[in-house]
Symmetry: C2
Subunit: 205 residues, 2 copies
């Protein structure tokens, strides 16, 4: 279902270089794994290193996974219409803060961000498509393919999902329970689709 346009996007290192040239001396903000990222109404964060989990929390306590921002992707309150919107570091992350006004004033920056925002649009749409599958196992397989494409790293045995998502995170993304995800991951492991390495990362075969 999912095909990649990675080759068309500006390489993350190019955007980082561009940002460094445009904003020499502006520091990066560091968040460690698990920390909540502060957001304010005019700021757009650009991921320079690591992966950020974007989610919404319902009044009943349910959390829904809305996206994973990986290097060069923008996120922030000006880019969402969700009222209860949360960003959490899924690894150690470095972020650069820009304002909407800065982006709009810089043609180079807005062109580059247009491309990386397209990546976020494609990812969000792919997540929306996968929740349409009736069978939960199919939803989980589609989610794993999407994660492989978005944040996969090639290793000897296949592709390693480069951040540790909990079974609850995966359940939140596909509208099921943690217990079901644990059971299905066990099945997929027995069927040879995936394995778990010594550091508890998922490897897709």
């Amino acid at each position: 279902m999912v095909h990649s346009f990675a080759s068309e996007a500006v390489a993350p290192s190019e955007l980082r270089q561009l940002l460094e040239e445009l904003y020499q001396g502006r520091g990066l903000s560091f968040y460690s794994n698990g920390q909540t990222i502060q957001m304010s109404s005019q700021d757009i964060w650009i991921v320079c290193r690591g992966v950020v989990l974007l989610s919404t929390l319902f009044p009943n306590g349910d959390e829904v996974l809305l996206g994973l921002a990986s290097p060069s992707m923008p996120f922030g309150l000006p880019l969402t219409s969700i009222y209860s919107y949360h960003a959490t570091a899924l690894s150690d992350v470095d972020l650069m803060r820009l304002t909407v006004a800065e982006i709009e004033q810089s043609p180079t920056l807005s062109r580059s961000l247009w491309q990386h925002q397209s990546r976020r649009l494609r990812q969000t749409e792919a997540m929306l498509a996968l929740v349409g599958h009736r069978r939960v196992k199919e939803r989980l397989c589609q989610l794993l393919s999407l994660l492989k494409q978005e944040i996969g790293q090639p290793v000897a045995e296949g592709t390693r999902i480069s951040v540790k998502l909990t079974h609850q995170n995966l359940a939140n993304a596909i509208g099921t329970t943690r217990v079901t995800v644990t059971r299905l991951l066990g099945q997929l492991r027995e069927e040879g689709w995936l394995s778990i390495d010594r550091n508890r990362y998922i490897i897709l075969h």
Copy 2:
């Protein structure tokens, strides 16, 4: 759950004027209500008039609604990673065709499209958030609020949803059946949330 940033975006008429200046003499493509819009791998369509329904079709025949492109919003194969991607005119529509290269070469155009693509990202994310609600009625109410915000037109009795979405379209957006949508719309009508006007448009009160 959904709040609007409409005031921050470039007004649709501004983008249209910009496009006309940039591409004087380039014709618009017209599609009538219900027609399938042709897409090719390098083309990005900009909606100049009307509303386009974006969806994906699963091998089992299920359709999932992925978005509604309203005036100034871009859509097309370069902006999606979904393999089976369909665009259908939901009203009479005028579209302008651009290529990725043209957009990347024009700073004015990429800045303007960055803003309208942000609107699509916000909409897609809002659709993703609403499918997380456990109760189908809650999902339908959230969808109607989103439609009100995206394509609502003020009328004397409230806000009219400016295109006719079938009960099946609404069902496809919230992962339920047409029969359930028909029943729930009946309930919402009895409860005074909405009415249907003489031309079969939904009016939200």
